[in-house]
Amino acid sequence: MSLLANWYDFRDLGNPVARLIEALQDAGLSGGWIYAISGLLGAIGILSFVGVAAVINIWIERRLIGRIQVRRGPNRVGPFGLLQPVADAIKLIQKEALQPDNADGIMFTLAPIVIFIPAILAFSVLPWGEHMVLADLNVGVLFLLALSSTTTIIIFMAGYASNNKYAILGSMRVIAMLISYELPVVLALLGVVLFAGTMSLTGIVSFQETYWSWLIFFQPLAFLIFLLGSTAELNRTPADIAEAESEIVAGFHIEYSGMKFGLFYAVELVNTVAVSAIIASLFFGGWWTYGLEEFIPGWILFIGKIYSIYFIFIWFRGTLPRFRVDQLMAFAWKVLLPLALINAMMVALEIFIWTEYEISAGIVLPIFAVVNFALAGVLIVGFGRVMSRTMERFPKLPRLVKDIDVPLPEPSTA
């Protein structure tokens, strides 16, 4: 698909924008103005998607969880309950915004605003089409990781500013959990970066296009680690120890009410879409879908992939109960981190063999796919066996009273 296609070629929205910029150049506009206009157009495009997604996802998520839990979900406001998000927003805006007396006022207000920045900025490096990317950074993956670790600080900001014991406890839990899960996630992405040989998101997608295969076929273990790790990073239900209602009431946003609470609720949905989009472009080819993007616009396929992965997250949420803190920590440090380390080493070895002996990709890539799938299967099954055996070897049975040698008083025969 060349850049000089017709302006009405909407398979790649980069085309109409490029034609518009050409027209503006012909009209004699200076470079700075053109740069500003193209940046603004891209930002408006991304933000309209994020805005629509944040509103629609409330409905999708509540309906689907309703279906999973054998109930109806919201179905009264508008057709199929579609206007439920609007009703929610109006209700939240009208609520009284309380602020505790001994809260830190500025940070208390700032936290729900700032928490949107990493969530939305993550979309700036994602490619929606061949020429349809806002900021094609050559350190794209590193940029995404930096953004995801910023969220930790902002959540602690909210908990600290509330000056509430539950909030502090929740935000300390968030920090402990997020930093634990960051290591396996970073190592899983290291495998992808090693395989594609570039940190740019555009480069990773074009790698998949060049070798005519999605990266999930070469990196199944990295995909699983990233999926589970990001479920924890998103604070979603199997791992939502930060806001566990039954333990610490609502965690870090316990003192928030009205629209500020609504922003915390909305950012979770935006974050989930952002992570789904990252998974879709790293492991499922982004806009590239085995030539299908010639007929259906690539960005529509990309949105389809995002929502397919978002469905997995909703499925987790509807099915799994909440884990205990110690279980989550042990899972991150003792299962995911060793698996991610082995995966990274394996990929480094494969890439070294591939480049050092200059074997053609047609021979070597199918072998890598088979090897990596076998490795993933062996590691998951074997690691599960080993870990469960050590658990069984030291059973912690409660000591019964009859095992303790305490002489019982003689029954009196008087």
Binding site: Y35, I93, P100, D101, L137, N138, V193, M199, G258, A344
Partner: protein, 123 residues
């Protein structure tokens, strides 16, 4: 490359406008008396499940959180150093591969030490 970061900056401006808009809307609602604003000492006290608030929230904290943070800092810095190596590996040859493998091996030794010392237990 800075041009590309500048485009992300355009998105940053909008990312700030996105949450500020609802907050401003709720403030406007308050100005037009469409939103209640009746704070009283009980309402604005720190929430503690219905009982009266006791003391300050910021006290001493369990050490286990800090142990994890300490291990994390060491690991994260080392792992981030692997990213440039990952991009340069195809051109680095055998020496590059061995250097990276040694680096990862040192990481694994440290991790095994932490595990053996029971620093990873949540007690």
């Amino acid at each position: 490359m800075l041009e590309e970061f500048g485009r992300a900056g355009f998105l940053l401006m909008f990312a700030l406008a996105f949450p500020i808009l609802p907050i401003v809307a709720s403030v406007v609602f308050g100005v037009f008396k469409m939103r209640p604003r009746r704070p009283d000492p009980i309402k604005t006290a720190t929430y503690e499940c219905g009982v009266e608030t006791e003391g300050d929230a910021l006290g001493q904290f369990n050490v286990r959180y800090y142990v994890y943070a300490l291990i994390f800092v060491v690991f994260d810095v080392e792992i981030l150093l692997l990213y440039p190596w990952a991009v340069a590996l195809p051109t680095a040859g055998l020496a590059g591969f061995v250097a990276g493998a040694l680096f990862l091996a040192i990481l694994v030794v440290g991790f095994a030490y932490d595990w053996a010392k029971k620093a990873l237990e949540w007690v």
